[in-house]
């Protein structure tokens, strides 16, 4: 790595010497390409072809793996805290009940209102899955928030999009649901020329996009910030000899990175909460009688 290109090398996916995770996914079980050769026969010369590994060999990356681990952790957590429930809760049960009550009363009941019960499992699973994945960004062994790869965030946003449209269509039927979502009542009719495309855009197109991008952008920027402070600080501390000012600045930026870590813990929780609340909000707007 050339001196003076430390930040750039990190962004370009070169393996850094600092132990900071990069945004590039690495396949866990890569299979190298292989070469097959035809021996020379008659007048035809020998020909060789190199085969690239199939996508099935490279799709199982470390980031997919940590999403799967997060799902397992969530499953295990709820299985453990919901085992042998008692009237007087133990500490283990209390933790589970506290989290469940927060999501059931604070999110599902307050936002969705009547008939909120059937959405509680989805919201609880969504919140805990996102929060575990986000905490992986501050957790040793992983040091990478899964949702700072935008594809994972798209997947969750599409699931939420399908959910709120499906419950709306199920309740009202396709035509009536579309009318309800695009034509707010009490508007003079010439304005509908303007309002119908705008409402369609805002309710069906930008909702999933912003849902995914909000989660992605917050975690991506947070992780990038930590990376810059840690990598740049380490470089200033170790690679610049005989310059006290650079070394002090490097030490300061490493110290600041700890503060940013603390901020990221807050952001991780907050973004999971916002994603859950907005999903509940969209379900509630799809179900509501009046718009």
């Amino acid at each position: 790595m050339a001196p003076g290109s430390v930040g750039l090398a990190l962004l370009e996916g070169e393996v850094p010497t600092f132990g900071v995770s990069v945004f590039e996914s690495t396949p866990l079980f890569p299979s190298a390409g292989w070469t097959a050769c035809h021996p020379a026969s008659g007048e035809a010369p020998a020909s060789c072809a190199t085969f690239q590994p199939a996508w099935t060999d490279i799709w199982f990356t470390n980031h997919i793996c940590q999403a799967v681990i997060a799902a397992a952790v969530v499953l295990l957590f709820w299985l453990i805290v919901s085992r042998r429930l008692k009237v007087v809760p133990s500490k283990r049960q209390y933790v589970g009940e506290f989290l469940y009550n927060m999501l059931r009363n604070g999110v599902a009941r307050d936002v969705i209102g009547t008939n909120y019960q059937k959405y509680v499992p989805w919201l609880v699973a969504l919140f805990t899955f996102i929060v575990v994945n986000n905490f992986f960004g501050e957790f040793f062994l992983f040091m990478f928030p899964t949702f700072s790869k935008v594809g994972f965030a798209w997947a969750l946003a599409i699931l939420s999009w399908v959910l709120y449209n499906a419950v709306g269509i199920k309740k009202y039927g396709f035509g009536k649901y579309l009318k309800k979502m695009t034509m707010p009542p009490g508007v003079p009719w010439p304005l509908y020329i303007l309002i119908i495309p705008l409402e369609f855009l805002s309710n069906f197109i930008t909702r999933p996009i912003t849902l995914a991008l909000r989660l992605f952008a917050n975690l991506f920027s947070g992780h990038l910030l930590i990376m810059i402070f840690v990598a740049g600080g380490t470089w200033l501390l170790t690679y610049t000899k005989h310059n006290l000012v650079y070394n002090l600045a490097g030490g300061l930026s490493v110290l600041i990175s700890f503060a940013i870590f603390a901020l990221e813990l807050l952001v991780a929780f907050l973004q999971a909460y916002i994603f859950t609340v907005l999903t509940a909000q969209y379900v509630s707007s799809a179900l509501s009688e009046e718009h």
């Binding site: 912003t210 909000r214 909000q281």
Partner: protein
């Protein structure tokens, strides 16, 4: 000797400017919720649900900024 070399897109500066509007918008939304909660604490739930929708709509602007900062060359 060049110590640091910054190469990249000036889009980030445009994005930084673009966040100012949504930042003020989000600040106003939650400032109003705090105000409202102070005046009438029991109305907090109703205010929060409206605030989340407003927050989502306002922050969408900042998020379009992120997307465009990446997309536009």
């Amino acid at each position: 000797m060049t110590l640091f070399e910054i190469v990249g897109s000036i889009n980030v500066i445009g994005y930084a400017l673009a966040t100012l509007g949504p930042a003020i918008g989000v600040a106003w939304i939650f400032a109003s919720v705090i105000n409202g909660t102070a005046r009438q604490p029991e109305a907090r739930g109703a205010m929060m649900s409206t605030a989340w929708v407003g927050f989502a709509v306002v922050e969408a602007l900042a998020l379009f900024g992120v997307a465009l900062a990446f997309a536009i060359k």
